[in-house]
Symmetry: none
DNA sequence: AGGCTCGATGAAGAAATGATGAACGGGCGA
DNA sequence: TCGCCCGTTCATCATTTCTTCATCGAGCCT
């Protein structure tokens, strides 16, 4: 999952980024409002952590612009003080949740998970299809209730496929969300295929029954019918 | 999505075209301003990538003419140098975004996506006629709500026919859009006919009821009546 | 109706795409 | 520092898809 952190305090931003990366998120950082707006408009993110106090263009402006563009990405706003007025203003503009500084990383993670879940219209922290179950909280995966050990990249790939269940996901899309901006579509050889292969092996995916190859497009995980 | 690239450097244009085609855009190329203006006025595009320096008629002239015609298609302009004056002039004339040469393909893709998303909100990702429904996002096709598996070329052909619903489409046109500029109308045997045949079979098109043959011209899909 | 052209069709070779096994190299922890 | 794990790349194999070709059939014009 791809997350953008918008904060002008490099230290804090770096700290958040590190925490999120440990949780296998793909993280990018923007230091001011203008840069953030630019990135948000051109790159697809799954979540935005947005500080209100920013140079150039404050958090509200960024949020307003983004919603005006019709971008529905969930936004978690950070406020310096517990100012009620700001809270209301942000919610009016379409923020999805709030967090007051200072906050604990655990709290931040919890909010982020909740938001990502909500944007997917799901109440449970699980992404489950067939006998596969992925816990977005503990980042564990089970197959027929048996734990499966996945590497970080494998996990991210599976997570994204489950997120887009029943939809064909192109390699390009997958790369964008799993690798973030640090990927070059031309340099990247066939390593997505390799990860898919490894995933299939670990998930005991005999004949592409779980992860379906959509020739000429990419991959897909199907739900519902057998 | 249909994109027109206007650039007088065949190499660059071809490179851009290739990149975009990999992203499943339908791409056309115009080498000079006059040709571009002609195409823009007759064909519907979702986006135009417009170089400023052009023979015959420069980018500004094309842009001005196009807006004068009331065509609101988003335009991404390419500038040779970071000339501020040009930038301002272009924006005045109604360009939607800018990119300075040289640029990376990744950057170009990001800008294009951003521009398309705005207008994309209005247009649904579906093309539907009769009981056929085509999703341009996931590249899936259903017939009477039953999924139909098409190969990439088949999909592209069907997409173009649906796009030009109720209009007879010549083989030449079809080839141009599906195969891009890298096609030679004489080398290409009758393979369009073959794809049409396969499509008809998969779509259970009994007696040319869905894909109509227009003798001496090409093919057409009709809307409206059964 | 006859001749002619254009389109339809089935099959086979060529090309593209994905799958796989293995090896290299960097980063991290011991 | 060494060794291990993971991510990436590469070479090769298998399968699907695209293209070509030869032939058949149908529509159009005179």
């Amino acid at each position: 999952m791809r997350v953008l952190i918008v904060d002008d305090e490099p230290e804090l931003a770096a700290q958040i980024a590190q925490t999120l990366r440990q949780q296998r998120y793909t993280v990018e950082i923007a230091g001011d409002g203008a840069a953030a707006a630019e990135l948000i408009c051109t790159e697809p993110y799954d979540l935005i952590v947005l500080d209100i106090m920013l140079p150039e263009k404050d958090g509200f402006a960024v949020l307003a612009e983004l919603r005006a563009e019709g971008i529905a990405t969930p936004v978690l706003m950070l406020t310096a003080k517990g100012e009620v007025a700001n809270r209301v203003k942000g919610l009016d503009l379409g923020a999805d949740d709030y967090l007051h500084k200072p906050f604990s990383m655990a709290e931040l993670l919890a909010r982020i998970r909740a938001l990502l879940r909500r944007s997917h219209d799901k109440a449970s922290p699980y992404l489950a299809v067939g006998s596969i179950r992925l816990d977005t909280n503990t980042r564990g995966v089970t197959l027929d209730n048996e734990p499966v050990v996945l590497t970080p990249k494998e996990f991210s790939v599976l997570e994204f496929l489950l997120y887009n269940c029943n939809r064909a996901v192109s390699r390009f899309n997958l790369a964008e969300h799993v690798w973030g901006e640090a990927f070059d579509p031309f340099t990247m050889s066939n390593n997505i295929d390799v990860h898919i292969k490894n995933l299939r092996k670990k998930l005991d995916d005999q004949a592409g029954r779980i992860i379906v190859t959509v020739r000429g497009v990419g991959y897909m995980i199907r739900d519902g019918q057998a």
